[in-house]
């Protein structure tokens, strides 16, 4: 059974219902922290991001250089794999942090890295900025969050193909072509304000010129090598972004107003932390999006008494995610409700914290236990 009875469309039925019951642009639960501590955590600094950016670009240049040097031998493959992960996964987290404007203290540095990262990811800097804004306003609110990556029930083939960047490349290329032609779908218009749209078209057209240059070079060289440097890494380097991205919200609650119920914090190895720029502290990031990536480990220590315990590893997170996705085939209202420690403020009804796994999700009309009996849990 792979049909969904939820309507994830941005202007669809469940979007309207969520609005009707006050799930949209709502107040969210926050852990209480003294103002002085919050200010200290939000304080900006250029130094950590400059250091990380120098490391990132140095390794990218070195790995791409080695790949080009050894091309077309298979010995170039490991270097392309390193370059690909940095191009298509590390750049995802740079896109993210610089989009929030918190990575650097200096604004032009945020903006410059943001533009480079958007180009690598083939994500239009205008449309994606606004889509992510909405993701933070309405995190995992069905019909409003444009960044829900696994519907209930999940489309398994899609989840697997994402590791190979197929949809990322296809979707972003299609969007770029539409924007080049001056077309923006109504769903995108629902979160990109009118005065911003022209800029989205302009940037897509500038990219078109760059891609045409790369294509001309490839034609002249009679080789795909230029595309190994620009564009194709999305196919062989997205896997890390997808692996970490799936941990953020999959299997957790929809349509609740407490990030402890719909986001996941996971301890990961230092290399993944560098690539992912600390977004493994995801509950903390959503609860306090203005805290820069380099302060998130400190923030985690200060709020963990009020959070479900962090997963100790990537494997542990997937041990939770995969069985939940399987269970959602039988019952799309199933989700994991993680236990809070005794020191935490309990989940509260006003944030829909009383929602129990398997019970009908507020704001979802399509779930009808009568029409489609649910297997006993």
């Amino acid at each position: 059974m792979s049909h969904t009875n939820r309507d994830y469309a941005l202007l669809g039925r469940d979007a309207r219902l969520a609005e009707e019951i006050g799930l949209v642009s709502a107040q969210w639960y926050h852990t209480d922290l003294p103002r002085k501590v919050m200010k200290e955590l939000m304080t900006r600094s250029d130094q950590p991001a400059i250091r990380d950016t120098i490391i990132l670009f140095s390794v990218m240049i070195a790995s791409a250089g080695a790949g080009i040097w050894l091309w077309p031998s298979w010995w170039s493959a490991p270097f392309w794999l390193i370059y690909g992960v940095l191009y298509a996964s590390a750049m995802d987290s740079r896109w993210h942090e610089c989009g929030h404007g918190t990575a650097f203290k200096t604004r032009w540095m945020n903006d410059a890295v943001y533009q480079v990262a958007c180009f690598c990811m083939m994500r239009n800097p205008v449309t994606w900025r606004w889509s992510h804004t909405r993701h933070h306003t309405d995190t995992i609110i069905v019909g409003h969050d444009p960044e829900i990556i696994a519907m209930r029930p999940a489309v398994v083939a899609r989840l697997i193909l994402n590791f190979f960047g197929i949809f990322e490349l296809w979707g972003n290329a299609k969007t770029t072509l539409q924007l080049i032609a001056g077309y923006m779908p109504e769903t995108t218009k629902s979160f990109v304000p009118e005065p911003e749209r022209k800029r989205a078209f302009l940037i897509a057209r500038i990219w078109a010129v760059i891609y045409l240059g790369v294509a001309a070079l490839a034609f002249w060289m009679q080789s795909i090598l230029p595309f190994m440097v620009v564009g194709l890494p999305i196919l062989f380097g997205s896997w890390h972004m997808v692996m970490t991205g799936y941990m953020q919200h999959l299997g957790l609650a929809e349509n609740v107003l407490d990030h402890r119920l719909n986001s996941r914090t996971v301890y990961v190895n230092p290399i993944s932390r560098f690539i992912y720029w600390n977004m493994n502290f995801h509950v903390e990031h959503h609860m306090f999006p203005m805290v820069p990536y380099h302060a998130l480990p400190r923030m985690h220590e200060l709020v963990k008494h009020d959070m479900p315990p962090a997963h100790p590893s990537i494997l542990s997170a997937y041990r939770e995610i995969i069985p939940t996705l399987i269970r959602q085939f039988k019952n799309p209202d199933w989700f994991v409700k993680r236990e809070l420690p005794a020191s935490a403020q309990p989940y509260r009804a006003e944030y829909h914290g009383d929602l129990e796994p398997g019970a009908p999700t507020p704001g979802i009309a399509g779930y009808d236990a009568q029409a489609r009996p649910v297997a006993a849990e």
Partner: protein, 103 residues
Amino acid sequence: MPWIAACSADDIDTEDLIRWDHAGRSYAIYRSPDDDYFCTDGFCTHEAIHLADGLVMDYVVECPKHNGQFDYRSGEAVRLPACKNLNTWQTRVENGQVEILID
């Protein structure tokens, strides 16, 4: 138009802000790095998020939700997603009290 005492000047740290609610309306009162005081509407113009949990850097306040930014002296929106300016309110300090001119 009355001047209303809102808080003590010492209630706000330098380069910081506090929330002030009065007569059914919410405001944000700022103390600048030069210890001047300013007042704007309390809620961000992008969505209904109060600026009191935001960060003040020089003469800019960052909204805690999406980092929309405003120059709190003029209320001007200076970073997306904030597009609309904030209302500003005149302030003065009298006998150690920050007062706001409410119309």
